[in-house]
């Protein structure tokens, strides 16, 4: 589990990233000098007990929040050097994000939501790529619908499609299947797996579910803001066993 030597094909990495909320007596060290690298074309799952800092890590890496100490890099860009505006543009152009729920703008149709980052940039995007992503969602006939007319699983697939559409360097997803039933979860996970395998995308996903994590190439375990372990080639059983061992 060496992350010391920066591989040239890293999509995103954190170097001694520390996040402290509050100050003095009430300070919480949500991330504690984390070093982690997410390589291109890899599907990583992040697991850990509640409050271990998973969401904090996602937010800091996606440029939604800033680390207190250390560095976060997307490609070779150090986020701490970016202004608020450049950070926004980086999120728009180089990072995809999928939240647990409420991912879509209710006034826009599905396709408009997918195109949102590109429309904000005023670019048409790569049409072939967008077509590929859209057909992979299996929602080609519902593109003109508004989010309120889509099921939760469909909404999440649109959200993943939006994250993919701009061909970002990395996609972060915080419990993307947390709000949907098993079958729908499987649909979404299959879609993400497919994006990595067929489209060469890089995805980092937080999950509590061992089955969901088993879709990933690699599972990173977080406890109290530190990375305590990681597994490649995970199966649900092994992950479950490991989680129990971590004993949260």
């Amino acid at each position: 589990m060496s992350v010391a030597a920066p591989p040239t094909h890293a999509a995103a990495r954190a170097v001694a990233a520390t996040k402290i909320y509050g100050s003095g007596d009430t300070a919480v060290r949500a991330l504690d000098a984390i070093d982690v690298t997410f390589e291109q074309g890899q599907f990583t799952a992040i697991m850990g007990p509640s409050g271990s800092g998973k969401s904090t890590l996602m937010h800091c890496m996606a440029g939604l929040d800033r680390v207190t100490e250390g560095q976060v890099l997307i490609g070779e860009v150090d986020l701490s050097t970016l202004s608020e505006r450049d950070l926004t543009l980086l999120r728009r152009d180089n990072v995809g994000f999928v939240f647990q729920a409420f991912n879509l703008v209710p006034t826009l149709t599905a396709i408009e939501n997918i195109m949102l980052p590109m429309d904000l940039a005023g670019s048409a995007g790569d049409t072939d790529w967008v077509d590929e992503v859209v057909s992979a969602t299996g929602l080609a006939d519902r593109l003109k619908h508004r989010p309120s007319e889509l099921s939760g699983g469909q909404q999440q697939r649109v959200a993943v499609a939006r994250a993919l559409a701009g061909q970002p360097q990395v996609i972060f997803a915080d419990e993307p299947t947390g709000n949907v039933d098993l079958n729908t979860g499987a649909e979404i996970l299959g879609f993400m797996r497919n994006a990595v395998d067929e489209m060469g995308q890089t995805i980092v996903m937080v999950t509590h579910d061992a089955v969901a994590a088993s879709y990933a190439d690699r599972v990173v375990f977080l406890v109290d803001g530190k990375i305590v372990d990681e597994r490649t080639d995970p199966t649900p059983e092994r992950i479950r066993a490991h989680m129990n061992q971590l004993g949260a």
């Binding site: 926004t88 543009l89 999120r91 939240f99 409420f102 879509l104 006034t107 826009l108 980052p117 429309d119």
Partner: protein
Amino acid sequence: MLKLALRNLLDKKIRFALTTLSVVTGVTFVVGTFALTDSLRSTFGDLAQDIAGETDLTVRAAQEIGNEADRPTMPDSLLDEVAAIDGVVEASGTVQARNVVIVDGDGEAIRPQGPPALGMNFSSRVFFLIEGRAPVDQEFVVDATTAANNDLQVGETYDINGPVRSQPFELVGIFNFGSPDTNTSLGQTMSVFDTRTAQQFLGFGDRLAEIRVLVNADVAEVRAAIGAAVGADYEVITQEIAAEEQTEQFQNVLNIFTSILLVFAFIAVFVSAFIINNTFQIVVTQRVREIGLWRAIGVTPKQVSRSIVVESAIVGLLSTAIGIAVGMLVSLVMRAAIRASGFGLPSGPLVLRPRTVVLAVVIGLGVTMIASIVPAMRARRITPIAALSQDHRIERSGWRRRVAVGGAVTAAGVVCLALGMAGVGSTAAVLALTGIGALVTFVGLNVASPAIARPVVRALGRPVQALFGMPGRLARENAARNPRRTASTAGALMIGVTLMATTSVVGASVSSTIADVLSDAVRADYFVRSEASPFDPATGFPAQLLNDLENRDEIESVVGYRVAFGGMVVGGDSRDVVTADFDTVERHMDGDVISGSITGGDPLTGIALHVDPADDLGVAVGDTLEATFPDNQTDTLTVTAIFADAAIYGNWLIDNALWEQHFGRRDYRFGTAVAQVEDSQVAVAEVTARYPGVIGENRDEFREANQSLVNSIFAVITVLLGLSFVIALIGIANTLALSVFERTREIGLLRAVGMTRRQLRRAVRWEAAIVATFGGLMGVVVGTVLGVAGSLATPDSFITTVDVPYATLAVYIVVAGLAGLLAAVLPARRAGRMNILEAIAHE
């Protein structure tokens, strides 16, 4: 429930503040207006008491007809008769005339804006000299405010334009009017002479306007004695009556001002009601989830609605209290502003009458409570399930029903308006019908407008989207998102724009009518008038001027005109009467005479009238009419002509000779001249140059002057109405702030996926611009309809040509849109500053 309501208010401080703000605005305007006018009223009442207090009894000619300015005079021999009566200590005669204009050191005529320019005779009881001495022959004294504002110096000689002629007088003193310490001339200019000079210069000859009497016996007895001595042609009034009349007179000076303020306050309240209602609707909508949660934990529907009502009561009471305080402050500031504008105003306490407080509570609390009824009823229907639902919307009521109900209400309002404009019933009824009609129309439109809000707003948003891409698209979608909210936000703005558009259409129509009348019906080449406001019935110029003009070789003939509103009673009704010179006027004007002839009519026994009253009274040329004048004399007049164009002579035309038999005033309100030769302009200029403050114009100049006057009057009204814009803007800002708050999570999401702050602010601002443009558009459409209807209904003497000023109306729509942009600045900034992660975590 009180606890729950209070908790709720404190939890949502910003929402609470915004709701309060909308109520405070309305209450402030009402309290400010009433406190100011009540204060002025009481100040004037005190002042009138002071002035009248110097006299026990006043003797004057009895008058039943016409204006105070046309009250008959009395011979000064009456003075000795009155002075000789037992119990009379002192009797002094007064004369007073309006339109006595001083020409200052720079040759400029001193014209007060609004209040009259008075000429009077001196009395040490009301004129308190602070410099110099009392005037004797060919001298005058002036009030301190006029002296200071125009740099008039004691010892200098100034020309004064009287009713008959212009004459130089030496200024020998300066006085405070009404009180020794402060000048309370209320913006009037007062040129004061000794009695004999005043009589001659002001056209009284050897007559007097009034006799003021001091007594040292029982006032009632002396009053009766004087009454018996002077006979039935005269009346003797007491100090109380004099004070009352004086107060009324002062109030008339301010009446236009007061009515404008009240109309404005009314509009302010109306607009505020829209905003309050809107705010409550939004607040309840935003709380659906929360209320669902209460219901889930066992709060009954009744308790829910009661908590909303209690909450609105708290908001209403608090805002009323704040509004009263702010309103008092506003009235203080306004009073200071009036005083600073050189209006001689006595000081006094600020008056807050119980009536004002009651009204404030009725408006502040009442409007808030009423505005909360519908939301409270809606809140009752919220089920516990709503707590779990993502969608915060409450079901919409049917569009079709909305259009039907709204259309019916609007139609009822328009019928009321039409009746009002057509002038059915008394003046009070007309005003009530018009006011209620306007109100009902607006309410109806507000019910119906959500039905059209979505398509119209989407159409308006199209160019915004084309221009700004995704931020424009979001602005458009958000503006169309909640049609009811959009409609009532726009509705607040619509009211002001409607009134402005109506005013503009009527103004443009008046202006076009002037041009048409001038080209069709006016033959004269030159026009003479005072540069003072033509709406002051007392304006005029010395009669001598027209003689001077007629004596020039370049001029063929002149005609002088006078006007007395209600100056004559015929057939039991008082009539507005216009004078001219029968023998020449038809060379100057074409009143569209349809039978008989004005020329050749007997100046002392002839009368010409419009076809409408002629039909009403059933008279034809050659018939006779009984006409009673302000001097209580009744003459039998013969109809010499009947005319069809009311724009020139009004309805009733008599000769100047007849006027001079019955009216005291000798100045002319207006004059026309027909040229003898082509190059006569210089002659006119030379003559009028000798009378500063009097203007001679050729046809083009006259038309332009009239049109620009009409335009500027309507512009002032428009600006005043535009102030309701400001309230509507607060409403837009308010609604937008609440909408932004409601969309916190969505905004967080947009920012997370890469919307820059600038793009976000732009989206919010343009959303407001679209909504505001919608309001402006509705206002212009409704206002144009009302303006055209109003112009058609207006008597032909004012409007014959209906004109729609498209450019101005277009400007209103654009200004409304820009105002929306402006109103959105703060909410947009707030949206831009949101912390992304907190916003996303927001419930």
